[in-house]
Amino acid sequence: MHDGPWRAPHDLVWTRYPDSEDWAVFNPQSGDVHLVTASAYFLWQTIATSHDITTGKLLAALADHVQMPLEADLITAADQTLQFMDRAGLITPNI
């Protein structure tokens, strides 16, 4: 997993409806729409509002947000989510 820091494009268009926790997000750069979980949106929002946040701090913030211990299952799920968001252009390593 990339250790960070991460950065988030600010031109994404996020949509959430009251009937579920999921978010749809439009990436104007790729022209694609993606369906993501509330946790993925939290990760993006945290990256977008933090300066040069590392992956470790990001995972700690997520564990605190979902009120779960920062254990293997959560780390694996968060890692897969970050990889997906990276591939989709929703976040990018700030190298």
């Binding site: 949509t15 409806y17 999921d22 749809a24 439009f26 729409v33 993606h34």
Partner: protein, 296 residues
């Protein structure tokens, strides 16, 4: 019935056919095209005017091909987008060329692959991949008295959020043909043909009332993702709107071309409507269910 006298110019200067928001200039030297128009386009405004959004020519191949396995060639705005097809598909080729024109060029709207019908001011968008049963359901709803907006495109106006009608002949394939002929014994259908994928198809003439209301946009009320399943009991179940938005975006021809404006048009429509998945096999049952769900 209106006069089809302008069709006498079909093989020379061509004719202008008004189809929903589009004016189409059509020229053809193939008798099958004229017969097709005389069968399913008799209620459409056909004039000898020359201005048009799309200039379509369906012309026969010259030389020996006129006599042996004759072909129909499509020319749209001076470009040949497809290879020639057998001449007995020339009428259907007009519909396929219109699909190509709208899907590739009509970027004033967000174009979604969907059938749209309307009753009492609320439109139902039926979206799904080919073979899901949306055209069959659309045709059955139209025969049951719903207004046809389109069996191929939901045209969403990004400014108003309304759906622009594009009523045209309804395409039916394989088993759907006999089902709809039974339900609509006085309906007008083109002769059966075999398409390039081997499916038997016809086109059903759209109702006069739908053609006359082609200038009246409709407000979306429901979005339904139908799937025909043999012997299935009707199941109309809500789907999370974010999931509906994803599915509609994937069925859109041009939302990404329109960028944020296209995305927001679809997202806005989803936000203002009820969204369902539908599994069905019994058309009468599903027509009743859609009518009652719509008025809830």
């Amino acid at each position: 019935m209106r006069s089809l006298e302008p069709l006498s110019q079909l093989d020379t200067a061509g004719v202008q056919v008004s189809i929903g928001p589009f004016s189409v200039r059509l020229r053809s030297d193939i008798v099958g095209v004229r017969t097709y128009l005389e069968t399913v386009y008799t209620d459409f405004p056909i004039t000898s005017e020359t201005a048009a959004h799309f200039d379509i020519a369906i012309v026969s191949t010259a030389g020996w091909r006129q006599w042996m396995r004759p072909q129909a060639n499509l020319v749209v705005n001076g470009v040949r987008p497809f290879l020639p097809l057998p001449e007995d598909l020339s009428g259907a080729l007009f519909e396929w060329s219109l699909n190509w024109c709208v899907g590739d060029h009509a970027h004033r709207w967000v174009a979604i692959h969907a059938a749209v019908v309307e009753r009492d001011g609320q439109a139902v968008v039926l979206s799904g991949v080919s073979g899901a049963g949306k055209s069959t359901l659309c045709a059955a709803l139209v025969v049951a008295g719903w207004r046809l907006l389109s069996d191929e495109f939901a045209l969403v106006d990004p400014q108003s959020g309304l759906l622009s009608p594009l009523p045209r002949p309804v395409s039916l394939k394989n088993q759907s043909i006999s089902i709809l002929k039974q339900r609509n014994p006085s309906g007008v259908f083109t002769p059966e043909r075999i398409d390039i994928e081997g499916a038997t198809f016809v086109h059903m003439k759209p109702p006069l009332a739908s053609v006359r209301q082609a200038g009246e946009p409709a407000r979306p009320g429901m979005i339904v993702f139908p799937r025909w399943t043999r012997d299935a009991a009707t199941r109309l179940e809500p789907i999370p709107k974010a999931h509906a938005l994803m599915r509609l975006a994937h069925q859109s021809f041009n939302y990404n071309y329109l960028g944020v404006r296209g995305y927001e048009a679809i997202a806005g429509m989803v936000g203002r409507t009820d969204c369902y998945t539908l599994e069905y096999s019994d058309l009468d049952d599903v027509i009743g269910r859609l009518a009652s769900a719509r008025t809830r």
